[in-house]
Amino acid sequence: MYRINPDTDMPFVEEFRRQPVGRHSPGLMRILNTLRYDPSGRQIVLFCRKPFAEWQIAEMPANRQQPLVFEDSPIFTNRDEAEWEVFRRRWFAATGQHLNQPFRSADEA
């Protein structure tokens, strides 16, 4: 399995941040396929509590018979921002590196 290199794979981080959902390069696809696999069996999902308006991160435990766990905070008002947040957490879990950029900087906004 591919081992993410936080230095050489950094361009793909930027590619993802610019467009979390879309036609991704092979290098970013490999990163995402790696990050989206959780051997523990837990699965992060995005709960849309208000259609097209508000989202929360939630997690399914590995055991199907246990309940969903919702994060009360933050409430996202932009779906792509939620994608970036989950990406950041998974990147940290895989590399130990903090991605401290916001989803959109003041300049980009």
């Binding site: 979390p20 036609r23 991704h24 995402l32 995005l46 849309c48 509590r49």
Partner: protein
């Protein structure tokens, strides 16, 4: 959280007939109800918006409601088994979920008084439980545990007079180092008392009136005999005829595979009923592999596979019955129920869709519309309560974005008793091959947004089809709606008089009768508008006796989320060979000119005009459309070509006169070639690198003066509403429809 839900007793109802609605109210004591027409179930602010106008009816009002639950789990019940005092039981077992404790294999048990007996598995160890009604319940457990997916003979004898018992287990095959054979004899201090109630297999009656403690796995040749007996003769299959005079009952599941009846070969004829559709036509312990059809060797298919998560009929009583007026107009409707305000913390409304079909008997002098929409209710049923976003960990990779859950999905997560779609696996890992509409179908509704539905509106199947309803309403097209089930039952005569039939975005599942009827209609001059992709893909079968349930066997090949076991490719409902229509010798290209080639769920793509667009035969289609690129917009993934794509292939039956009007391009790397299109795995399966990944917008005339217009994309309908329905996809579709409505023959 979802605070109200329900289901109708039918998806198709004719004027003058009645339809009932069964509701579970999760909060409060009353709910409001009304009928609405369904013209657009998509609240995406980028689209035209929800359009669910009130349809005044006698249903309008407030109703009392209560919480209701489905009693999931399959079992056999046999009435008339006498109270058993000195007897033996034997069965052949193939357990599949031993981690689940307290699974009952056989029982004659009074749940209120704890009288009788039951045989259960305690982490794979057989355990005999007896009770005498005084509260004294005794258990004796064999210390030997079974392994999953291995055949065993299990038997016990019990003499209540003396208290003597024997429990024995023997595998069909010995494995080195595995201690899964053994016997225990002993004496119960209090051996219980017989119960006079029904005999159960694979479940136990509980004090609340439900059946629980379901066994997961196959049971074959269960039998009850008078008196005690050693294990070895009871382990034989078939049982020796020397036991004939001692038989109390011997159920032979190889008989009546198409039915819900469990035939008792004994003289008392204590036939059982199989409840909640456990899987039949299943290989038994003696399957040799010589025959793969249960019809060729029924004795080798004497097993029934029971599951704790089988459900045929939720059994909720009717809360509302609507007697339709005689002049009710054909169309898409829903019962809208509400129990308060919907907010971020809870959804307090629900839409339960149904279709009003034309009258069953044509009324003389009344002209029906010449256009019909064939509602793909078999496909809606196939996807009912589709739960792979819950159970397939890592499916996010395939979606290319985080898995979308709404309030309805949270309800589905919290209520596994509503059971599964044909895409799911049971808790024991076996494929779900039956899907019923006689239960809530959570994802088949206006306002449901699907994790599968493409970035943007995220709609799939029913709610995606509402884009087409809105488009037809916008253009003032008069049309009837008929459903797959209507077509299956009524055949070609149902559609003979329509000039034009439009499909939904994803008409994937068809019975033989449906397939034959549609082909007859096309071959006799019908004009088909195939408004989607991945059509005519899987064969399904209906049950001879039970309404509203379909069966699929996910046999070799095809995009499939589970695989039928070798030897189990034949439908239990009909005996037909199951699987892809392509593998049955009828590729979709034979029906609509094009066939499934790729699928991808993240973003969609445009089409580019092809040289055939300028062929004079197709001039009417592109009238007013000069664009080179069409459909570079859409509510389903941002393009008209997406989700699942079909293309031309003469080797699979695309006709020689088919015109390739436009083909899609610029696909996402997640738009992947389907597995039946390659026989050896290729390194370039994605739409960015594989030249075969494309949708072909196509047209051809048929010899009888009809024609076929095929879009080749599930996402096509999602582009219809863009820019207030003013766009090139909408124009092309309208051009085709208007010409198709003109009765002048094409050739």
């Amino acid at each position: 959280m979802l605070k109200i839900l329900g289901y109708p007793d039918r998806y198709s109802v004719a004027p003058g007939e009645a339809i009932s609605f069964q509701i579970s109210l999760e909060e409060g004591e009353t709910f409001d109800a009304r009928i609405v027409r369904v013209l657009n179930g998509d609240c995406n602010p980028a689209g035209p918006g929800l359009d669910l106008p009130h349809h005044p009816s006698s249903v309008d009002g407030t109703y009392p409601g209560q919480k209701r639950r489905a009693d999931a789990g399959s079992f056999m019940r046999a009435e008339g088994v006498p109270p058993l005092s000195a007897f033996s039981f034997r069965a052949l077992l193939w357990p599949t979920l031993l981690a689940r404790s307290g699974q009952v294999i056989a029982a004659q048990w009074d749940a209120a008084t704890h009288t009788g007996f039951y045989l259960e598995l305690d982490k794979g160890r057989p355990c005999l439980v007896v009770g005498d009604g005084t509260g004294a319940v005794r258990r004796e457990t064999l210390p030997h545990a079974m392994l999953e997916r291995k055949w065993y003979a299990l038997s016990f004898s019990l003499d209540r007079e003396t208290g003597d018992f024997r429990i024995s287990l023997s595998p069909q095959r010995r494995d080195f180092g595995v201690e899964d054979a053994g016997e225990r004899v002993g004496r119960f201090a209090t051996p219980g008392a017989p119960s006079a109630g029904p005999f159960y297999l694979a479940g136990l009656p509980l004090p609340d009136g439900t059946i629980g403690c379901h066994f997961n796995g196959k049971i074959e040749a269960p039998a009850l005999l008078a008196g005690s007996e050693a294990h070895a003769p009871l382990a034989a299959s078939p049982l020796s005829t020397s036991f004939a005079s001692r038989l109390i009952a011997a159920w032979d599941f190889s008989d009546g595979i198409r039915t819900t009846r469990a035939t008792d070969r004994g003289p008392l004829r204590l036939h059982g009923s199989l409840v909640n559709l456990p899987a039949r036509g299943m290989k038994g312990s003696g399957w040799t592999g010589t025959h793969h059809s249960w019809q060729a060797a029924p004795a080798e298919y004497g097993a029934v596979h029971f599951h704790e998560d089988d459900l045929y009929d939720a059994g909720w009583p009717a809360d509302i019955v609507w007697q339709l007026p005689e002049d009710a107009k054909s169309g898409a409707y829903a019962l809208h129920v509400r129990c308060g305000e919907t907010g971020p913390e809870a959804m307090r409304e629900c839409y339960i869709p149904f279709f009003i079909r034309p009258p069953r008997v044509k009324k003389p002098g009344i002209a029906r519309p010449k256009v019909a929409f064939l509602a793909p209710t078999c496909s809606y049923m196939a996807y009912a309560n589709h739960g792979e976003h819950i159970t397939v960990r890592g499916v996010e990779r395939l979606m290319g974005r985080l898995l979308h859950f709404g309030h309805q999905d949270v309800y589905l997560y919290d209520h596994p008793e509503l059971c599964h779609s044909l895409y799911d696996k049971h808790a024991d890992g076996s494929g779900v091959c039956y899907s019923s509409r006689v239960r809530p179908n959570i994802n088949c509704a206006p306002r449901y947004h699907s994790w599968l539905g493409g970035d943007g509106s995220s709609l799939y199947q029913y709610n995606a089809d509402t884009h087409l309803f809105g488009w037809l309403a916008h253009h003032g097209i008069e049309y009837d709606i008929i459903t797959d089930e209507d077509l299956h039952r009524d055949g070609y005569p149902l559609i003979a008089d329509y000039d034009v039939i439009l499909t939904g975005s994803h008409p994937e599942y068809h019975s033989t009768a449906m397939w034959d009827a549609m082909k007859s209609w096309i071959d006799r001059g019908g004009r088909l508008m195939y408004m989607g992709g991945n059509g005519w893909y899987w064969r399904i079968a209906f049950h001879d006796e039970l309404p509203g349930v379909i069966e699929v066997r996910r046999a070799e090949d095809g995009i499939r989320s589970w695989e039928a076991e070798p030897g189990e490719y034949y439908h239990s409902f009909t005996g037909e060979y199951g699987g892809l229509w392509r593998r049955c010798g009828r590729p979709p290209n034979m029906m609509a000119g094009i066939g499934f080639v790729a699928q991808g769920f993240d973003v969609s793509s445009p089409y580019r005009r092809a040289p055939d667009a300028d062929n004079p035969r197709a001039a009417f289609i592109f009238e007013g459309v000069e664009d080179e690129v069409i459909g570079d917009f859409g509510l389903i993934g941002g393009g008209a070509a997406g989700i699942e794509l079909d293309c031309i292939n003469p080797l699979l039956g695309s006709p020689p006169n088919i015109l390739r009007l436009a083909s899609s391009e610029d696909h996402s790397p997640l738009m992947l070639l389907v597995n039946e299109e390659f026989t050896a795995t290729q390194p370039n399966l994605g739409g960015d690198q594989n030249e075969r990944v494309r949708a072909d917008l196509s047209f051809y005339e048929t010899a009888a003066g009809g024609a076929v217009f095929a879009t080749g994309s599930i996402a096509w309908c999602g582009s219809l509403p863009c820019n207030g329905y003013e766009n090139n996809i909408s124009r092309i579709t309208l051009n085709a429809l208007k010409r198709f409505m003109d009765p002048k023959p094409f050739v």
